[in-house]
């Protein structure tokens, strides 16, 4: 299950970007259609990868992108979870595109509390 390897890599990337002292609330990730990531497996892997770590309460927000389809006959463009769809015009040989990458898009953090010195 490569989702666990992806989750471990994700925690490494987060560590590079998380400001010192900040608390991670959630992480936004986008999986290309060409990557074969199962959302349920990715959530499970995220929990396993972050258990006992400072990130264990952070939410993984995963968007799985669909395939981009283009019909060379009628030029119609659309997205679908099925790369083997036929076009409405009857064309069965479509141009299929999908990214083969897992992208870290952003973090939602709680900044560290700063102490204000109270002067008498």
């Amino acid at each position: 299950m490569h989702e666990l390897s992806l989750a471990n890599s994700l925690t490494e990337r987060i560590e590079q970007h998380l400001p010192d002292g900040a608390v991670l609330k959630s992480v936004d990730v986008r999986a290309g259609a060409g990557l074969a990531v199962d959302p349920g497996a990715m959530q499970m892997a995220w929990r396993a990868a972050t258990e006992g770590s400072p990130y264990q309460d952070a939410e993984l927000k995963l968007i799985c992108e669909p395939w981009n389809l283009h019909c060379p006959s009628c030029q119609r463009r659309w997205t679908s979870g099925n790369p083997l769809e036929s076009c409405l015009c009857g064309q069965t040989h479509l141009q299929v595109q999908g990214e083969n990458a897992l992208m870290l898009v952003g973090l939602e953090i709680e900044e560290p509390q700063t102490c204000q010195e109270i002067r008498p």
Partner: protein, 224 residues
């Protein structure tokens, strides 16, 4: 507070893969990442390849398996340049494992290096290893729907291989269904139909030879 980032999660793997690619290019070694399910015939294809190319090209193999050295032992009968990578529980090879394996093989002696990935049609697709070409392998025994069921591999492959064609008369496999699905998912990738078990791999050998020749021409420069 939102912190926007746009970064590939596998950035570290890709950086190591880039190092592998540079090292392999400098050694002028054509590198192939062979991905296919367990039992589709990856090792059999490589055994036949090593045997038939013995007098023509020098081929090395990095073999990925969870456990055992059985595949490496089979291939070592035909080539002294075979390294086994045991991944333990990991279902795919990653670039750092290739980097380490490259220290155990003399690239100066090789024309071709094949990375036989762990038997798996899904997970290896995500990991760049530093290869020149990614080859997706299926067999007629798996069913003619397997290309459609694994669109990520078919879409990402530079070449598709369909093995065990000698068994077509004995299995419920419609080659036209398989060919149609492959063509739709990846019209650019050639589909080679072979039978490694009966030594019918001439099209695969021709493809390899043409890629080696093309690579040599790129390195020879305008004055040669």
């Amino acid at each position: 507070m939102k912190v926007p980032i746009v970064e590939n999660v596998l950035k570290l793997n890709d950086e190591v893969a880039a190092l592998n690619r540079v090292q392999l290019k400098e050694a002028d070694v054509l590198t192939i990442n062979l991905i296919g399910s367990p039992g589709c015939g990856k090792t059999a294809l490589l055994e036949t390849t090593l045997r038939q190319l013995a007098d023509t090209l020098t081929v090395g193999v990095l073999v990925g398996d969870l456990a055992t050295t059985r595949d490496a032992d089979r291939l070592a009968r035909w080539s002294p340049y075979v390294v086994q990578i045991n991944t333990g529980k990991s279902c795919h090879l990653e670039a750092h494992q290739i980097r380490q394996a490259l220290t155990k093989i003399d690239l100066a002696k090789l024309d071709i290096l094949v990375i036989e990935n762990v038997g798996n049609l899904v997970c290896p697709v995500s990991y760049d290893l530093g290869e020149d070409f990614r080859v997706g392998m299926f067999s007629v025994c798996e069913g003619d729907d397997k290309a459609a069921k694994h669109p990520q591999l078919v879409h990402a492959a530079d070449l598709l291989v369909l093995n065990k064609t000698d068994l077509l008369a004995h299995v419920a496999f419609d080659p036209d269904v398989f060919r149609h699905d492959v063509a739709q998912l990846n019209p650019q990738a050639p589909l080679l139909e072979v039978s490694a078990g009966t030594d019918r791999i001439d099209n695969w050998l021709a493809w390899l030879a043409s890629r080696v020749e093309r690579s040599a021409l790129q390195f020879s420069g305008p004055c040669n």
